[in-house]
């Protein structure tokens, strides 16, 4: 029974690898099953496929809205529910280094998810995933199942005369314009949270950690630009956000560290007070690229 089970497992492995090979030019058949799988998939995509990207963006879910909106030689390694520290740690542990790293400074008080990063570089498994793409998170059978359902739904809706309403692009934000009472409640809570007396000692220590990580990156020859994602203006102007901004600029002075211009939050719309909606994400992505090229023209191509 044991032998038969192992043989069947091996056969399934080979068969599934064949399926993945057959759909390799149709990536839309694979869809992330959850936020956490999405994060792991992004990280593994960088480690195994895109580690030659010249520009890497690290940050939280705020920056994750920029995925697919940046040029092909850029890579957005922003993780939902996590922060810049995870992205920076992955870059530190990777052999290849990009020319430029854009560091989001909205979410600095969330520590690195050590288990997440350690699992990516788990001895043995790191190499196995390199040799056997079937072991990577994005290729999980559940992802194929979900992707197939999405494709089937889209095709069916198109056939039925609709406009294919299933959002095939993941992370696509839908603006609710804050009209919904619950959304207003969520935004209100975010504003209230920003009004609370911040723990300045904790913020100082987080910013100090961020500075140390950024300095280490720069010492390894990587250029770094800091940037702040636009959010709801009331959240942007909250005491907590202002304190964080002032501590960051005191520890990492603009005379020494590069910053992208601070965005005018009034010009952007969010879905929940912090995450940009689809149209705003597109505009900000373009603005970011324009500013980066202006600052570092050698990154034009």
């Amino acid at each position: 029974m044991v032998k038969k089970t192992i043989i069947i497992t091996g056969l399934l492995f080979v068969a599934y690898s064949g399926v993945l090979y057959a759909i390799r030019t149709r990536p839309w058949f694979l869809s992330s099953q959850s936020q956490w799988q999405w994060n792991v998939s992004r990280a593994q995509e960088y480690l195994y496929e895109k580690n030659d990207a010249r520009v890497v963006v690290v940050g939280s879910s705020l920056s994750a809205t920029l995925v697919d909106l940046v040029p092909s030689h850029w890579f957005v390694m922003a993780f939902k529910g996590q922060s810049l520290f995870d992205g920076i740690e992955i870059l530190q542990r990777s052999a290849a280094k990009p020319s430029l790293v854009l560091v989001e400074i909205n979410v600095v008080t969330r520590p690195m998810n050590k288990r997440f990063v350690d699992n990516l570089f788990s001895p043995g498994f790191y190499t196995l995933r390199e040799w056997f793409p079937v072991l990577r998170a994005k290729n999980a059978p559940g992802s194929l199942y979900l992707g197939s359902i999405r494709v089937a739904t889209t095709l069916w809706q198109k056939h039925a005369g609709g406009h294919g309403g299933v959002a095939v692009r993941e992370g696509a934000a839908v603006s609710t314009r804050g009209e919904d009472a619950v959304v207003r409640q969520v935004v209100g809570r975010m504003i209230d949270d920003g009004q609370e007396s911040p723990d300045s000692q904790y913020i100082e220590s987080c910013v100090a950690t961020m500075k140390a990580r950024i300095d280490m990156l720069q010492e390894s020859g990587v250029r770094v630009i800091l940037y702040e994602m636009p959010v709801d203006e009331r959240v942007f102007d909250s005491p907590k956000a202002r304190l964080l901004r002032s501590v960051i600029r005191a520890r990492l002075p603009p005379e020494v560290y590069r910053y992208l211009p601070t965005p005018d939050c009034k010009a952007f719309r969010t879905t929940d007070g912090s995450h940009l909606d689809g149209e705003s994400s597109v505009r900000y992505a373009l603005m970011m690229q324009t500013n980066v090229v202006r600052m570092l023209p050698d990154l034009l191509n």
Binding site: V2, I6, Q33, I149
Partner: protein, 469 residues
């Protein structure tokens, strides 16, 4: 140390190899004890002291009961059980007491809030209590006398092993001394039931790593304030998913523990017996967390009088037992409410069945099964949201968010990962049908699929839910 971690795999291989090496055969018990203490000490070494003290108290008390002054046997047990419960109360319920009785800024309040929660304390405390009481009952049940060896050192060794045995140390099954201690002897490689252990480990890890760990990524949004924005169907789907998740997580752990114990030559009791096919709450509690429910029945419900003191007293006993059973799970009032809900359900069910007899038909059986499942599922909300006000808000949101539209992905994925649990229960219900007999005769296919999914489709690793108890 998680069962699904690289470090555990290494730890297990080393322990197992040393255990069966002929040159170390006479040190098998010592090897298991030392490795179990290493396993326990991995996260917070200082708490091993508490575990060792617990073993010592249990061994001394149970030994004195059998071989000490017979006039002081009861006093000994009362003292031993009292000490164990005091330790449990202090370490587990200290923060709850602090929040209820003291200001957080007071020195006592601050001190109580800082107490670390020793992992597995609820489980090993109950195992120790079982040993002490079984020793006391050896007058009425002579075979219980054999669990206390005449040599104190040997008895201490056996007691320690039965309590710290690492496969079940941190989340059960709660081993009863009279089931486990008689098994302690030299073990041989040839006695391992390889196929049984293989099946158990694959099933256990599949339930935990594929089903539970993937479901948790979708039931995460039950947490406050995320659930506020979810549409009704998603809220219901997540609740259903959490019901599946908690079963897969806990049953998965128990099955892994049974499989691991088997590899060391020990038989550990089954802890789950297809609980979601129960047609009544009393049946549910004979199928869910069996080691806890039998412990509560044997050591609390029956000593309180059980159902032998009239209807009202029976209902009261059920409420008390389930209230304490709920509180055992965690130091928050929501767990006590959860227990009380089950106690009330048991009492009401008993009352109704004494007044009304339902006609037995397939339809009635289905209705009963669904009713029990729905109530049990809603009660799990108290596990996921320990703040009672958030539970109320969640229930309100189910009714208020009917107009909201959202992503159908969570419901789709919850259904996918719940399917194994549904099939698992269905195969048991229809086990005598030709289809299920055919499936069972082609076991390698099912286990091959599970092993394949284990390798390619595991969710993000997380601790077992019951580790927090």
């Amino acid at each position: 140390m998680l069962f699904n971690s690289n470090v555990f795999a290494l730890f297990f291989i080393i322990t197992w190899a040393l255990y069966y090496l002929p040159v170390f055969r006479r040190f098998q018990i010592g090897i298991l004890i030392v490795s179990s203490l290493v396993f326990y000490a991995w996260e917070l070494p200082v708490l091993v002291v508490l575990l060792v003290c617990s073993c010592l108290v249990n061994a001394v008390v149970s030994y004195l009961v059998i071989y000490g002054d017979r006039t002081r046997r009861h006093a000994c047990v009362v003292m031993g059980v009292g000490l164990s419960l005091c330790a449990l109360a202090f370490f587990k319920y200290g923060p709850l007491i602090a929040r209820a009785l003291f200001r957080p800024t007071s020195s006592v309040g601050e001190f109580l809030l800082m107490i670390p929660l020793p992992i597995g304390i609820s489980f090993y405390t109950f195992q120790g209590i079982s040993l002490m009481i079984d020793a006391l009952r050896s007058d009425r049940i002579p075979e219980f006398r054999a669990i206390v060896h005449p040599s104190f050192l040997k008895h201490l060794q056996n007691t320690t092993l039965s309590i710290v045995f690492f496969p079940q140390l941190v989340a059960g099954p709660i081993l009863k001394a009279h089931d486990y201690i008689p098994q302690i002897r030299e073990k041989f490689l040839r006695d391992i039931q390889w196929e049984r252990c293989f099946r158990l480990l694959i099933m256990g890890y599949f339930l935990k790593m594929v089903v539970a760990d993937n479901l948790k990524d979708h039931t995460f949004w039950i947490e406050y304030p995320y659930f506020l924005m979810q549409p009704t169907m998603t809220l219901l789907a997540m609740l259903f998913g959490f019901s599946m998740q908690i079963f897969a997580d806990f049953a998965g752990y128990s099955i892994i523990a049974i499989g691991l114990a088997g590899l060391f030559g020990y038989d550990v009791m089954t802890n789950f017996n297809f609980p979601y096919i129960a047609q009544s709450f009393s049946e549910f509690w004979t199928r869910w967390h069996i080691s806890l429910s039998t412990f509560l029945k044997e050591y609390l419900y029956i000593p309180l009088g059980g159902n032998r003191k009239g209807a009202i007293r029976t209902y009261l006993n059920l409420m008390i037992v389930m209230f304490l059973g709920g509180l055992w799970h965690g130091a928050a009032w929501s767990y006590a409410v959860w227990g009380s809900v089950h106690g009330l359900a048991l009492a009401v069910e008993r009352f109704i069945s004494s007044k009304i007899t339902f006609k037995e038909s397939a339809f009635v059986r289905v209705v009963k099964t669904v009713a029990v499942f729905v109530l049990v599922t809603f009660a799990w909300l108290l596990f996921k949201l320990p703040d009672f006000s958030q539970v109320i808000q969640y229930l309100q949101a189910i009714f208020l968010n009917l107009h909201r539209q959202g992503d159908s992905v969570p419901a789709t994925m919850i259904l996918l990962y719940s399917l194994p649990i549904i099939l698992y229960h269905a195969c048991h219900v229809w086990r005598d049908t030709r289809l299920v007999r055919w499936i069972r005769s082609h076991d390698p296919l099912a286990y091959g699929i599970m092993l394949f999914l284990l390798v390619t489709n595991s969710g993000s690793p997380s601790a077992f839910i019951y580790f927090q108890f």
